[in-house]
Symmetry: C2
Subunit: 658 residues, 2 copies
């Protein structure tokens, strides 16, 4: 039975939840396929996550391997293939709690970087799991800065082999998933040396464990890097290489080859390779970043209409905590951001599909823009969503702090997304470099890519809003965001120029501007996100109340950004203090409006109880019963040796005399 | 041997590290005592935290109990007493990793709330550990709002007993520390009923487990609430009471008594009791909040001078990451905040000692101000320090994400401080209520407490700064902070008045202002923190370079607050855009100045390697070696059954046919 405090929230929905779900899925057919996949996965006990919060790192790893192996069977049984429509829903249905994800990266890197011959040899072996692959790039001493990697691969023409070494401790491979305990093979990135000359980073296939008994191969030292904030199910590993010899044919050679005599040959274009990096950054957004924020919103908002605390009005019943303005101000902007980022994700996917088609036609013009957008949005979305999950956690008070709420795990996992696939600050600076370059070009009257064309437009000096309702006009707020993005880019470009003209060296000048460059890159992405949300709302069908509620969320997303960062808008007087008070008024009004639909808006995300795995967030809102039931199953409710060893002697005064 | 990249940082310190340590400790004698305590604790293997990151919740609990019991012996052996000068350093030296902390709260509550007779009976039993106490206040359904607690204690005059019940699942006691597995007794807070009339919340001593065999007493259901984000060593518990009878003498009766005939008598003043609540909030700041931030700064800053990544200047060696402006901008403001909050903690301690002396003289005038300051600063400091630890964690990239860095545990533990001892938003609203009240009084010409006297002062309309160096003047920035605090308080007071005058009910009007009231309360605390830091610097001896570096940190703390929240200062034109550019320039200049002394500034916190328990933060900076050594000890480097069960059959193709 549904908690009546939660049930009542659903009766007054201003829109059709089912239709909004279909919109998010991209059509009712997609919704059906997704639900069918979820049903199959969740009804299979092997995939259960029920005891997850009680398990050790070892138990989590074992379960993830079991799931990965079982998944192969399941896919065969269900007729699901890697190219089928179900495939993209499987990982989400498993909440990513499965092993061998790097095995797929191993295969992809061979497909992209390997010669036809290499593909023909390795891909069938990998597909049939005759080996387990990994991908060994990051080292103890180097992450995002790939050029600094220290592992070496020296060509020995006498034996037609490469000799691989990690010459210093900092060169040790560190972090590769599936490598700590599972993998038999891995793709090692190393500095290629031929006849004493370094040719830079290249990829090599290296066997690290015996296919017979899984023992480490000669010259290999490998193991697990130990406890992490999350990802207990993954065996992130370390790898030391000592004079490990591999045949010449094991260097992945689609783009570069070492001939038997040691001649180094570069062939074809590596540009498509950079494109792969940018698509990975976009592809992680949906499952790794948006889903966790949507789950956190679902949990925190359902809990906030079930939890009653203190009295709003003397003499009345205690109020639902979501009726407090401060609670609305914590949660509803996160909900709006989840929708905003869902739509920007659609936009980016579409843009990248277009880019891919162009690249296949050997047109690489879009690459710099795509790189800048993927870097910037990866950083901005992971940052916002991580902060959003943390806000949801804190907004649930003590119960949010229990692992049983599901929120701590969502937080500790999403946090990693700010670091992996390019550290956020470094990515933002790459976006900023592109912005500065385009701004200079635009100022000189040269053409620039579409997403930055606004940098060349004439800017209005003043926001035209006259009352608080004007701030519910997308034109008004989108223009304000645009103005800020232009101002931050142009003022930082000017500072950079000034420094260089005053004699500061170029790289020093750049470093002295980086704090402001990061701000400019963020403002650029924020502007595009707001603009895209407004354009998306415009295009929605007006039926079923969906456009109306999406418009409210779009307004909230935009005004929250202004309200939380007023200085950027006030700085040059584009927005006046009086206008900022209007923004605050409209923003706070919107909270009360969206609050009414808060539960239907999270219901539309359509997470099952099993996928939330949360005592606070279930569909029926029976929070306290579930917390109590789950707690009783905790291993901490088994007898502890501490009683016989320490408590009993203490209480019975039989400890050796104090 | 010390990593040369770290060693070189220490050679150029602009001040005496040892003298700064003594300043932080409150004198060289204190430093000596502290170091002696740390030496004793850390040289005893029972207190080791070496394997902490590898342990399960059950193992952590057992270790904490062992340490607590051993600590009794140790204190006896060393001649340390609860009133001795060593006492306050013990908990810090243990990093809080010890059981029976609630036993002390149990004792304190009896001392404060119990009659002389009750004290005489229970305190000796507790002191000699003939029982283990806990403190059962929070319920599944109620936390900070104590009036809403649902546990009942009904007086039965026939038997001269109270009958205790948790009538609904939401009334179940939930969270009390030491209660899940250890405690034999607890202080239960329950609604007192006499002859059907409710007298509100009162404290009752209840035995929950047998002193003989530790089995649960009749009518008692109790256990552990399971996994949490941290505090694995503490057995936070649940407690159900079903018709549990306790003698009339077990109601703590210093302030309220139930006579044998059921007459309810209130005696004495409860005000001192409220004072206890406020002192607890202050007392937790040092050990639970400041120490973790200081540790996180130590770890992240030492790591940032050892980690080299990418090149600042083409052709040169890779740069220390602390040389990047963006890294400085992440870490150095956290370092400045750690000092700022250390000094505000001194200020609050002194104020509370004065308050205590006044209260002992039956003068309760200071209570409202002390309550407002303790609430506001508890919220502001826990919030800032939690955010600061998270920034330090992220600033260490992937290695910060490993538990071995120490940073995840610091973060997950300090996060709880935002919730316990009063949820932060609720506390800020209590401070805001006091501010509004004082502002109204001051506006009407009535006297107000010293810390809010500034609300009555005439405000300047414009910041007088003329160049960026002016913003290194404490008068300039302190006044700016004051201006913002007054503006936010007065504008919110005006909004509140307007709403009420327009016919909105008082409680609704209050709710509609709460987002802004929270901002006002934060601004008030931030102003006091800046002012106090500036005044502290003023008073420092000018020798040994300490005043100079503290002045830099004070400037950085103040300017970082303006730079990160420019809107508040720009809003009414108090600060102009041109002045804001000066703030940015001075702020960014300061980063480069303080960067030079960053390592000496964290060295002065004087944490031993054992207390940091971090592979990244050790004094010698041998980061990579330590990560590798520690990882090898992880239980995830033992053989997993996953190989025989799943990997081998998969690789040998002996899984039942796919």
């Amino acid at each position: 039975s549904v908690n009546p405090d939660l049930a009542s929230e659903r009766q007054t929905a201003s829109f059709s939840v089912e239709k909004l779900t279909a919109l998010l899925d991209g059509g009712t057919e997609q919704t059906q396929i997704r639900r069918a996949v979820v049903e199959v996965i969740e009804s299979d006990p092997v995939f259960s996550r029920e005891n997850q919060y009680f398990q050790t790192q070892n138990e989590r790893y074992e379960a993830a391997v079991r799931k990965a192996v079982h998944l192969q069977r399941k896919m065969h049984e269900m007729g699901w293939t890697e190219n089928g429509p179900e495939y993209k829903y499987i990982y989400r249905a498993l909440s990513g709690d499965v092993a061998f994800l790097l095995h797929r990266v191993f295969m992809r890197s061979i497909s992209v970087l390997g010669s036809d011959k290499q593909i023909a040899k390795w891909i069938p072996l990998a597909s049939q799991h005759k080996l387990i692959g990994s991908y060994a790039q990051t080292e103890l001493g180097h992450g995002t800065y790939l050029q600094g990697l220290e592992t070496t691969a020296v060509f020995d023409s006498a034996t037609q082999e490469f000799i691989l070494n990690t010459p210093k401790i900092s060169a040790m491979k560190w972090w590769p998933g599936d490598m700590g305990r599972s993998a038999t093979h891995t793709v090692v990135f190393a500095q290629l040396y031929i006849h004493g000359k370094c040719y830079g980073i290249h990829p090599f296939i290296v066997q690290i464990r015996s296919l017979q008994d899984h023992s480490l191969c000669p010259g290999i030292t490998a193991g697990d890097i130990g406890p992490k904030m999350n990802f207990e199910h993954i065996d992130n590993g370390y790898l030391l290489l000592k004079n490990v010899r591999i045949p010449r044919e094991n260097m992945l050679s689609k783009f570069c080859e070492v001939r038997p005599d040691g001649t180094y040959v570069r062939q074809g274009s590596q540009k498509i390779n950079y494109f792969t990096m940018t698509t990975v950054r976009i592809s992680l957004i949906s499952d790794e970043v948006l889903a966790p924020l949507m789950k956190a919103c679902t949990i925190a908002i359902r809990y906030s209409v079930v939890r009653r605390q203190s009295k709003l009005k003397p003499g009345e019943q205690e109020a639902k905590i979501l009726d407090y303005q401060t609670q609305q101000e914590k949660l509803l902007p996160q909900l709006a951001a989840a929708y905003a980022f869902h739509f920007i994700n659609d936009y980016l996917q579409e843009l990248f599909n277009r880019g891919y088609r162009e690249i296949q036609r050997k047109n690489f013009d879009m690459l710099p823009e795509l790189h800048a957008l993927s870097s910037g949005f990866k950083a901005v979305i992971t940052h916002h969503c991580t902060a959003g999950v943390e806000i949801c956690l804190r907004a649930c008070g003590g119960h949010g702090y229990s692992l049983l709420s599901g929120l701590p795990s969502l937080y500790t996992k999403i946090l990693a997304s700010c670091i992996y696939e390019g550290e956020n600050t470094i990515l933002l600076l790459q976006t900023a470099r592109f912005l500065i370059k385009c701004f200079m070009a635009a100022s000189a009257g040269q053409p620039v890519p579409p997403s930055v064309a606004y940098l060349a437009e004439v800017q209005h000096g003043r926001c035209p809003a006259k009352n608080k309702l004007d701030f519910l006009s997308p034109d008004i707020y989108t223009e304000a965001y645009q103005h800020v993005a232009v101002r931050l880019t142009s003022s930082t470009a000017a500072k950079l120029q000034d420094l260089i003209q005053s004699g500061v060296k170029k790289h020093d000048a750049w470093n002295q501007c980086t704090v402001q460059l990061v701000q400019a890159a963020k403002a650029h992405c924020h502007y595009i996100a707001v603009k895209n949300f407004a354009e998306t709302v415009e295009k929605l069908e007006t039926k079923a109340g969906i456009q109306k509620i999406m418009k409210h969320l779009c307004d909230l997303f935009a005004l929250h950004g202004i309200f939380s960062n007023t200085g950027a808008f006030l700085h040059d007087g584009y927005t006046s203090a009086a206008q900022m008070d209007m923004v605050a008024a409209s923003y706070l009004d919107l909270l009360a409006v969206i609050r009414k639909d808060a539960v239907p808006l999270v219901d539309a995300f359509d997470f099952t109880d099993k996928s939330l795995n949360s005592a606070l967030g279930s569909y029926d809102g029976q929070v306290y019963q579930r917390l109590y039931e789950w707690a009783q199953k905790s291993p901490t409710n088994q007898m502890s040796p501490a009683y016989e060893r320490y408590l009993k002697p203490l209480l019975h005064n039989t400890l050796s005399k104090l």
